[in-house]
Symmetry: C2
Subunit: 333 residues, 2 copies
């Protein structure tokens, strides 16, 4: 049986962090064993709100690729590619744009929320408004069956499915595949400051590429229960990122349960819990950082991996585009 | 000195008619002698409001090409190509979309008018809303210096110039060229029914491919001055399409002036004027129709001309896209 296809990826706007690891990278390392996995470095999408700063996007292509390789995404099993080098994606996007109304785009809940968050007001770049259609093209040009997403991105999956159905109905075909969302078990890791989301712009991340010293420093200054003033006081586990991280990354679940109980009844100091968290994180991050350092010595080799992956991805996308053109009866020659 | 570049074209949604001839085709035949002229069969743009009817677009590619060849657009002097086969156009469109706001697109006067005319209401296809950006990409990817347009399309030229300036400013370059509008001397030919515009959808056209019998029939039933009931009555020349056509197509300007004066003072019957118009139109259309019949015997040859033109156009567009990528710092390999 043909392997099911997965499409996933990241915007190259910064180094990847523990939030990415928990939310998607760890899963990709497993998924590549059973699926035909495409991982896209979404530079075109990054440019929708970084048009004036392409250097940042460019510089982060290599960083993101290094992060991928260092966590164990294997280029022999996963096709890693650069979005802007797949011309079939903007082509299909243009055809999709004819199948969706302006109003429908405007009422996409993900977009509405992001417009607020980004503070665009009335000055919303048109490229930003249509990015769900662009994503629908990313997904369908690779005939992806599964797309790992967070809950907040479900409206984009709905938009994709709508477009696939409309395309297949109008052109009386089954060329395009309806993808399914693969909801991430950990959608969102809180920041070291306890805020809901770990995010570069909030300056509350632990990056996969951070040195051991940086990790020590960041964990030591992590937000915990602000009312847990004395060791003997009972402390809160909910909303305490130290415990959320332990839940996400510690393999000894029994020990985590014990620590939680002890913390809640009082008598367990933050520093002890943090010390254990550090152990857990460093044993996760040390090998990642070492592999990263090795790959970083060979940037040309990394770029070659991207070049080869991009060639494969382009070939697959071009094949789909040929079918799309045939279906649309615009295959003239 | 390098030849100046012209980009122009038509949506392949029907056979071309006298309105196209007067408004643009005749000019192209002259312009090709002095300029590097690209003529685009705009199938992608035709699909923005014909997404559910691609067969119509496909069928009209050949018809429009036949019209071009029959009026004397010479494929050795003019590059005739098919828009959807130039992937650099949607690519550049996507980057342009990041440089224009949603609001700006919404307030484009041409778009606003067309939305009314097409009766879209709230259900405006997103592809339609962004077509001025797509046109900006058409124009700039060929580095066109001149774009023949009607007055009503000036807002689209303004949008293009805005995008070129913004792109060149942000990316500190002069890669993209600011085009100039070349306003057509006859922007709009009235229909045979006297309505403002000759248009297939109004069923008031004289097509370049109409048989002599059809032309006779259409001219005989043409709208004239409705108050010119008896030959001896004075008649109106303004708003009388018979005279507008004579102005547009008769070479003997003196004779036209005499006929007008006679008609205005009374004593000149419609049938006499129409007879002269018929002479004028048939001497224009007969050779066009004959060349069309010759070319129509060789559809494969016509498609070969389009294939070759498209190859040339693709090469030129790809060269510009390479410069664009370099300028945007997304030329990774």
């Amino acid at each position: 049986m043909k392997k099911q296809i997965i499409l996933t990826g990241d915007r190259p706007t910064g180094k990847l962090h523990l939030g990415h690891y928990a939310g998607s990278l760890a899963a990709r390392v497993k998924l590549q064993e059973e699926y035909r996995q495409f991982v896209m470095i979404a530079d075109t999408q990054a440019l929708t709100d970084n048009a004036e700063n392409p250097e940042k996007v460019r510089a982060n292509i290599l960083e993101v690729a290094l992060d991928y390789l260092s966590v164990g995404i294997d280029p022999d099993k996963t096709t890693i590619f650069i979005q802007s080098l797949i011309p079939a994606i903007p082509e299909l996007t243009m055809y999709f744009l004819n199948l969706v109304t302006w109003n429908r785009l405007k009422h996409n809940p993900t977009i509405k929320l992001e417009i607020q968050q980004k503070g665009y007001g009335e000055e919303i770049p048109a490229g930003f408004m249509i990015y769900p259609v662009n994503q629908a093209a990313d997904i369908t040009i690779f005939k992806a069956n599964l797309v790992p997403v967070g809950e907040d991105q479900l409206p984009i999956m709905e938009q994709t499915i709508e477009l696939v159905r409309k395309f297949n109905r109008i052109y009386k075909t089954d060329t395009l595949i309806e993808p399914k969302a693969l909801i991430a078990p950990i959608a969102r890791l809180p920041g070291t400051d306890g805020k809901l989301k770990m995010s570069k712009s909030l300056n509350n991340t632990i990056n996969l590429s951070d040195s051991a010293d940086e990790v020590v420093k960041k964990v030591k200054s992590m937000y915990t229960d602000p009312n847990h003033l004395r060791v003997e006081d009972p402390g809160k586990v909910e909303g305490n990122p130290v415990f959320t991280y332990l839940d996400a990354f510690a393999t000894d679940k029994e020990k985590v349960a014990e620590l939680k109980a002890h913390y809640q009844r009082g008598g367990l100091g933050d520093s002890i819990v943090k010390k254990y968290l550090l152990e857990v994180l460093l044993s996760l991050l040390d090998p990642i950082r070492k592999r990263r350092e090795e790959w970083a010595k060979e940037p040309q080799e990394v770029m070659n991996i991207l070049r080869k992956g991009t060639e494969i991805a382009r070939h697959v996308a071009d094949m789909t585009m040929q079918e799309v053109r045939k279906t649309m009866k615009i295959d003239y020659f």
